[in-house]
């Protein structure tokens, strides 16, 4: 444990907005605005935050899948991948060709199991595709065996391999997506809200499956979600994002039971409780909407909605600092 495999430093992702007759750059969406975190081998890092705070963008930036769908994206910072020998590589500025080598180590599971599988391909073609790219030396029979084995691992019958995705339920499709991500024995899997499109009963199965697979194969997860109880259940550590920044980062129990940052407190207090009377927890209700990342507030991004905001919050950007609970939080006015 405690061997770093991914080290993200000061990652920025900005999308340019164009307008006017000559399509000049008129504005910039700062979707991810300087975040830093690390992931250790065998660890699950949960990344939570409300819609539009940049969670998904972080995940996609880590494996360079932003440029194909939005050509005007600007990435800066470092995403250092550390292999088993301890060699560091910054993935952000690699060319497509250089990146190919690392793609088998970092894979992704997508949010929407209906659009993340190509409808025109059979399950076997879908699951075998990473193998054909990264293990071209594998023989046809070996690929078939591996696909059957993977399908079994994710709880699907290998007989399904000649079927098409539209014949499966949402949970089954997500299992196919997991099998595809597992195909190349990755060291890190980025899970972009893998269960939020699923039925609650199926959510639990998929989460348990993912946790079992992690303890069996020993890879790391970056688990992106907005459902705090799900994230707490599966994660070792949790990072809380707000408006493109990490506001709190710590062990799951630290963040979940003793939240420090005012935003995390509000977020945790919104988790539904089976019996609210028993816990006697105070519900913190934030007012106003999340500001648009087009024009972020100066200083601390949270100050427009923060219950303990002071006038000088507009003057500086708070940095993550160690708090009493043991977690890091980006607010100087809490302990």
């Amino acid at each position: 444990m405690s061997v770093r495999m991914l080290d993200v430093r000061d990652l920025h992702v900005h999308f340019a907005m164009h307008g006017g007759v000559f399509q000049r750059k008129v504005a910039e969406v700062r979707a991810v605005d300087g975040i830093s975190f690390g992931i250790e081998r065998g660890e699950t890092l949960g990344l939570v935050g409300e819609s539009g705070c940049g969670k998904t963008t972080v995940g996609r930036a880590l494996i360079n899948v932003l440029t194909h769908s939005s050509p005007d994206v600007a990435l800066s910072g470092e995403v250092n991948y550390i292999d088993k020998q301890g060699n560091e590589t910054n993935l952000i500025h690699l060319s497509k060709h250089q990146m190919l080598k690392y793609r088998q180590h970092v894979q992704m599971i997508f949010q929407d199991p209906y659009s993340s599988l190509n409808q025109r391909m059979t399950v076997k073609q879908i699951v075998a595709e990473p193998l054909s790219i990264h293990k071209p030396e594998m023989k046809r029979a070996e690929v078939d065996d591996r696909v059957s084995w993977l399908l079994e691992k994710v709880g699907l019958q290998p007989e399904y391999s000649l079927r098409f995705p539209h014949e499966f339920s949402g949970g089954q499709r997500q299992r196919i997506g997991i099998a595809r991500a597992l195909a190349t024995n990755p060291e890190l899997i980025i899970c972009d809200e893998p269960v939020s499109a699923l039925d609650v009963s199926v959510q639990a199965q998929v989460i348990n499956l993912m946790d079992d697979l992690r303890s069996e194969f020993g890879m790391s997860y970056l688990f992106i979600a907005h459902d705090l109880s799900v994230v707490y259940h599966i994660s070792h550590r949790i990072a809380v994002m707000y408006l493109g920044n990490i506001v709190e980062l710590g062990r799951a129990d630290e963040v979940y039971f003793t939240p420090t940052h005012p935003y995390t407190r509000a977020l945790i207090s919104a988790v539904p409780e089976p019996d609210p009377a028993k816990t006697g927890r105070q519900r913190i209700v934030l007012t106003g909407d999340i500001p648009t990342p087009l024009s972020k507030p100066s200083g601390c991004g949270f100050r427009t909605r923060c219950p303990i905001a002071r006038p000088d919050c507009a003057t500086f950007t708070p940095q993550l600092e160690l708090k009493k609970s043991g977690a890091l939080a980006a607010c100087p006015y809490v302990e």
């Binding site: 494996i63 899948v65 194909h68 992704m108 993340s116 990473p130 790219i133 007989e159 089954q172 595809r180």
Partner: protein, 371 residues
Amino acid sequence: MKAGKQAVTPGKKSQSLLSRRWQKFKSLKRGYYSFVILVIIYLLSFLLPVLVSNKALVVQYNGSKMFPAFADLVGLASYHGYEDFGLKSAGGEVNYRRLSQEFEKADNGNYVIMPLYPFSPQEDISVEGNEKFLPPLTPGTHTAARLLGTDDRGRDVFARMAYGLNVSLSFALLLAILEYCIGVPIGAISGYFGGKFDLILQRVVEIWFTLPVLFIIIIVVSLVSPNFFLLLGLLLLVSWISIALYIRAEFLRERTRDYVAAAVSIGVPTWKIIVRHILPNSLVPIITFFPFSIVSGITALVSLDYLGFGLPPGTPSWGEMFGLGVQYINQNKWWLVMSPMSAMFFTLSLTVFVGEAVREAFDPKTFSRLR
């Protein structure tokens, strides 16, 4: 555990989306039968040299057999003069219909078997007397009845119509296929890469789109004599653009879908993402558009031929026949106009029925059928 499993039972045969759509297309009877009829007619039209021709299928002469019509079909020399059959040379190729009568008269074991309909679209008519403007179903002086009469030069209208079908459909098919060959790659590249590249390419396409094709054709045709492939090329100049625009729009939408991101994250090469992932998912507008682009190809050729800027004179084409009919329309020569018009009407109707059924088969909504 495994609650979602009931959704699929193993052992049942699995179907791809495309084969499901083909099943649905087959269930739309009007479109499916139109498709079958069109395919049969078009394939038969390649056999026209042995079905509709003034050349004999078999000639038995003094113990040896000849097959001039089949030689024609496969493109071999099939010329036989009168002297080859011991007759007085009348210049030019032998008229097998007359030869048949001669053999019958002589009654010495020689015989001629003619095709089903023994007339050609181009014939030397000087031999049998001048049979101009024969109305439909009236027999000529020496010959069997002509199904749809003859035109101002004594050429058989039915034969011309039949050969015209092959020319029209071949032209439209080739035009549509070439349109796709140019339009699909350009639209795909423009839509997939997007950004500045797309911006510039689209402006170029918009400018190119303003080319006045009809004027260009008129000018070119007045300079050089037109042929099948020149016309094809000229019409192709702008007709690929609409396909390219459709495909571009499809690619713009599809490239943001997660399965493309998944393919990128796996490291699938770009060309493979375009060809294997996005293209099969963008086929709906291409396939539904195809029958209609054939309709427009047929109409384009007919109108050019009608105006006299089309295929070289003498080629059996509906537009030229139509123009001829219009010239004689006030002299009660109704069959000259009616024949090419009804041929066109039937072909276009069948094609549109096919197009309708294809569109319906690709419609994701199950209950949207209009009957």
